[in-house]
């Protein structure tokens, strides 16, 4: 089993994910003001991308799958962007 390159890749990705988790928690203990959330979300995005790309096999999936995976997040972005455009341009 350890000869299978894809198995080794999965384990490597798993270790990277755990390291990124450790990074997330450590950085949270440092006061970076408004950048804490930005960094936390960026690391989360990297983790999610690793899970998606390697574990969910988006890497080897047809373009149609890519379209739905990315499209869902893009549509969510529309929801966020236009809703925030209201809340950010008036006092709550």
């Amino acid at each position: 089993m350890n000869n299978d390159p894809s198995i080794r890749l999965y384990f490597r990705i798993g270790i990277i994910l755990m390291l990124l988790l450790a990074l997330t928690i450590s950085v949270a203990y440092i006061d970076l003001g408004p950048y804490n959330i930005v960094i936390a979300l960026l690391i989360a995005a990297v983790k999610a991308t690793l899970v998606g790309y390697f574990f969910m096999h988006i890497r080897t999936s047809p373009r149609l799958v890519w379209t739905f995976a990315i499209g869902g997040f893009f549509w969510l972005f529309i929801l966020f962007a236009l809703t925030f455009s209201d809340f950010l341009s008036r006092p709550i």
């Binding site: 089993m1 804490n36 989360a44 574990f55 969910m56 739905f68 995976a69 549509w75 809340f87």
Partner: protein, 216 residues
């Protein structure tokens, strides 16, 4: 010997390959609906965190960063066991498939156990909105919104995880009966996609809910 020849396909498909592709795409489209489903909750959270940053920060101090962190590691680990299970099914390794499915189920149950522990703490501390909510810090109204979103988001996530455990159990039963092999493993792969998605939701939930102002 190993009977994994469920290569007979459903009547509406021309062959097993078309069926596999349809099943996979079907799960991806369903996951797209889930992105929007959870995404709307993240929007609510984002709006109110933007509106009440201090209240959210102080309310988040009631969260146990370590327990949450352990749970995150548990789910990340379970994603690994899931992808190993799919790999085993793809390569006809029947025993390994069963082992990894069972490991996934165990890890999922560990997550739910820790979550249940956290919920019980919240009940004891009177931090469940609508159930004798007593918040001692500033801006209790905003803090209550934080806790509502906490319970709704993690609650729905836990429900999805529970369903995932159910699906993995059903797969494990099938695996013990040799249902899956190189020519028929779509159910394992497709269920794996669902499980990874539930993991991804938590990957975002953890920092947003637990790690707001930890350094204080």
């Amino acid at each position: 010997m190993a009977d994994h020849s469920q290569a007979a396909h459903a009547h509406q498909f021309d062959d097993i390959k078309q069926q596999h592709e349809a099943d996979s795409l079907g799960m991806w489209v369903f996951l797209t609906t889930e992105i929007l489903f959870f995404g709307a909750l993240f929007l609510c959270y984002g709006i109110y965190r933007h509106a009440y940053p201090d209240a959210f920060a102080s309310a988040s101090h009631y969260m146990d960063v370590i327990l949450g962190g352990i749970n995150t590691a548990v789910l990340l680990g379970s994603s690994l066991t899931v992808v190993l299970a799919v790999h085993a099914a793809q390569h006809g390794e029947r025993k390994r498939l069963l082992v990894f499915l069972v490991m996934t189920i165990v890890l999922g149950c560990v997550f739910l156990g820790i979550k249940g522990l956290e919920y019980s703490h919240k009940f004891a501390e009177h931090l469940v909105p609508g159930v004798d909510f007593q918040y001692a810090g500033p801006q209790p109204g905003a803090a209550e919104i934080y806790f509502v979103l906490y319970f709704v988001m993690t609650g729905i996530h836990a429900l999805h995880l529970l369903i995932g455990i159910g699906i993995m159990t059903w797969l494990a039963v099938g695996a013990s009966r040799n249902r899956y092999g190189p020519d028929y493993y779509a159910p394992v792969e497709v269920s794996g996609l669902y499980w990874h998605f539930v993991d991804i939701i938590w990957i975002f939930l953890y920092p947003m809910i637990y790690l707001i102002h930890v350094y204080r």
